[in-house]
């Protein structure tokens, strides 16, 4: 109880309302964040030095900024990745050779993967070594499959890109990448059958394509299609096999012959653009836009890549804020950002850019959706305010839009493959207010 009061007091000091925006600044340093749309929770890894939440994963209510649950996960947690069904979070660490999985229902560690089993990769003539994961991705549709980049501890000596599947490291792995362009980060393509890696220096900007095979992963080819490399962090994201990176380039990765530049979200403002996203809700690429005294988010049309709108998050002198590391879209007007000065400590800010306008549907207005699981028919029992039902697959791809009277809708989804889907119900009067529900087709 004392802890709750303490946190409430701290939060109340930090909560500020400025120019019609609500900004909640969380009082701890975080290393990574991830938002679960289905759970409506923001998850963060907290820096080792924090006295209350150090070395923990915390579950945050994005409306209040309150930490609702927390769990010690190990020293110096580094990267957080949610599984595509948002049932689990995988975590890597800066200096210990483990990867751990958190069950987000029970909020307990349910898998502890020791990476030392990859010791056979170490070069001849050395002793054997335990191995760290320097970055990784979780493959879609499988909560227990990871592609991991491995290195020797405390010393970036590339060791391998490997596939962890079915509770073990797979024997086929990538030990050499041509020209030493070892990828620093990974994202899945083609529903996880291909994996894209990225290497960047001040001269090179190289994507590596890798392929999942029966017992592991193999190298396919390289692509240097973005050409004019600017020294920025190795970072890119993928949406429906469209790749977009920190520099604003958008590339088509669906062609097996290589990546093709589709366009660029132009942005001449100062600051690194690490925290960026494609938002299904906004149907736009979103990039941070850091001027010398303010942080904006700029929305780019998904077809033309032209800036169509910007929203001010908060004012901040540039010497106090040098970088936005992560961006999570919570709803139409609410965003969680991880910001910091230079490459130092990063803090979570949750910003509601229009606190009086939009948000998630109130509990008493939410429709009933049943049966779950279903063999095909889904009934949505709503209120007169409800207008539209959208069906998405687990990758966020829009599959179906159904306008309805808001009272009751019966949908036949028998033509869709068994699996997990997201069903979104949108409010009639306030198109930005919606309710999302996970459904299972058998």
């Amino acid at each position: 109880m004392i802890k709750k009061y303490l946190i409430a007091i701290i939060f109340s000091v930090f909560i500020q309302t400025c120019f019609g925006r609500n900004v909640i600044s969380l009082p701890f340093v975080a290393t990574d964040i991830g938002y679960s749309k289905m759970r409506g929770k923001l998850y963060a890894l907290v820096d080792a030095l924090d006295p209350a939440y150090g070395n923990r994963i915390v579950e945050i209510n994005p409306t209040t900024g309150m930490v609702e649950r927390s769990l010690y996960v190990g020293t110096e947690p580094a990267f957080l990745r949610l599984t595509s069904d948002e049932e689990y979070a995988w975590i890597t660490f800066d200096n210990i050779p483990f990867v751990r999985r958190i069950n987000l229902d029970s909020f307990q560690v349910d898998k502890n993967v020791y990476l030392g089993t990859t010791r056979q990769y170490v070069a001849q003539g050395h002793g054997f070594s335990t191995i760290l994961a320097y970055n990784f991705t979780v493959l879609p549709d499988d909560d227990n499959s990871l592609v991991l980049g491995l290195q020797q501890p405390f010393n970036f000596a590339f060791d391998a890109v490997t596939l962890y599947k079915n509770d073990s490291m797979q024997p086929v792995y990538i030990k050499n990448i041509p020209q030493g362009y070892y990828p620093f980060c990974f994202e899945p393509l083609s529903r996880g059958n291909y994996i894209l890696g990225h290497f960047q220096s001040n001269l090179n900007n190289v994507f590596s394509r890798m392929r999942k095979v029966e017992n592991g992963i193999e190298f396919v080819d390289m692509n240097d299609s973005t050409a004019d490399a600017i020294f920025m962090r190795n970072f890119f994201k993928v949406h429906n096999d469209t790749v977009f990176n920190a520099q604003g380039y958008v590339l088509d990765a669906s062609d097996t012959n290589g990546l093709k530049v589709l366009g660029k979200c132009e942005n001449q403002r100062i600051g690194d653009r690490h925290g960026f996203a494609f938002s299904q809700m906004h149907n736009a690429y979103i990039y941070p836009n850091l001027t010398d005294h303010s942080l904006y988010l700029t929305f780019y049309d998904k077809n033309t890549y032209q800036a169509r709108d910007s929203v001010l998050l908060f004012e901040y002198p540039f010497y106090q804020l040098m970088m936005m590391l992560e961006l999570e879209v919570i709803d139409q007007t609410k965003f969680a950002v991880l910001i910091g000065k230079d490459y130092g400590d990063f803090y979570i800010n949750i910003v509601d850019t229009d606190p009086n306008g939009t948000g998630p549907m109130q509990a008493d207005q939410q429709p009933e959706v049943y049966p779950i699981p279903s063999t095909g028919k889904i009934i949505v029992d709503g209120s007169p305010l409800h207008k539209r039902i959208c069906l998405y697959d687990i990758m966020g791809k829009l599959l179906l839009v159904n306008e309805y009277d808001g009272i009751k809708a019966e949908m036949d989804l028998g033509n869709y493959q068994p699996g997990l889907y997201l069903l979104e119900v949108i409010d009639r009067n306030h198109k930005d207010i919606s309710y999302t529900r996970k459904i299972v087709l058998q």
Binding site: A48, L49, T75, F154
Partner: protein, 355 residues
Amino acid sequence: MMHKTLLLSLLLIHLCVGAQTIKIDIDAYRMIYSPEHHKAYAAVESQDPQYPNSILQLNPLNGTVEKHIALNGTPFILRQTADEEYLYVSYQQGPAITKIELAGFTAVNELTAGNSSILDFAVTADDDNTLLVIRGDQGYPDDIVMYKNGVLQPKQVSAGFEYYSALSIRNNGSQVYAHDRCTSGSEGLLLNILNDGLEAHGKIWDYQMPGSSFIKNHGDLLYDDSGNVLDAFSDSIPKLVARMPLYRITDEHRTGFEYSNIHGSYVYGHALNYKCYISFFHGENYNYMGSFKLDKEIEIVYDLAVVDADHFILVGLHYSGENKCLLFYTSSSKDRLVLDTKASLLKAGNRKWGD
């Protein structure tokens, strides 16, 4: 209102006073505390004007030198026997190890390890006359051997191309971990302890405790001066299980460190911006719990011992000085409040993962 102000002032005064640091200008290299005898023992360098090449017995609370033994060389490493009846002392140069009986504080025996120097040694828990020794020359190890009652045992392990220079014995006495603190690879090797010597157990492991110079053990976990924690013994593969973020709060690699049962914490003495600190990390989940700031300007901390809940001894190098000193620190109620507050925050559920 006046009463409230007065009470608040008294509370602040109470919180802000009480910490005390006694600095003794003795050029010590290492120091050790014996709870059994409630004495501190310090190995003093050759350049100390008053007690060169000596072992001192000190009052652990105020640093008063009670007794001293003059040695025939500069003492290097201090090891107590498990029952704290004896203290072994090796030398910075030369093959001797001197055995000191602590009750009477007299040298009772001397072992000679051939023509080599002693890079490190450890005393087995079940026999205070059995020593495991890294022998070498000019800082380069030759082999790791066992001496029983001063007699070299036949089974020995060659150091090969590794630079082993620190030893730590498993709690059950069956194995010893040899650490290479000299190369960037930070190799480690497990050795089985036999009746008649030592044998290598398995492979040499790279990058075990990177950057560390000295290692100690807490149960079967090894920890070092950089905050690394290694599970060296529970499996055939040593696992780096934690790294306390010490590197974030110190600007010198070298630290004094010790696990404290009293505090349930790993305790590190270290310097930051020429100030001296004692920092605490949780004994089970390794979280940072807070620091005490000493009012002395120190460039490097070389050693640390925990006397009790409120008393600590450090070996430090003076800021802009050449000689080291001993610091006897008594914590204040404010220190304890800081530590208790952070401990209570952690208590909210910062257990080991999976608990």
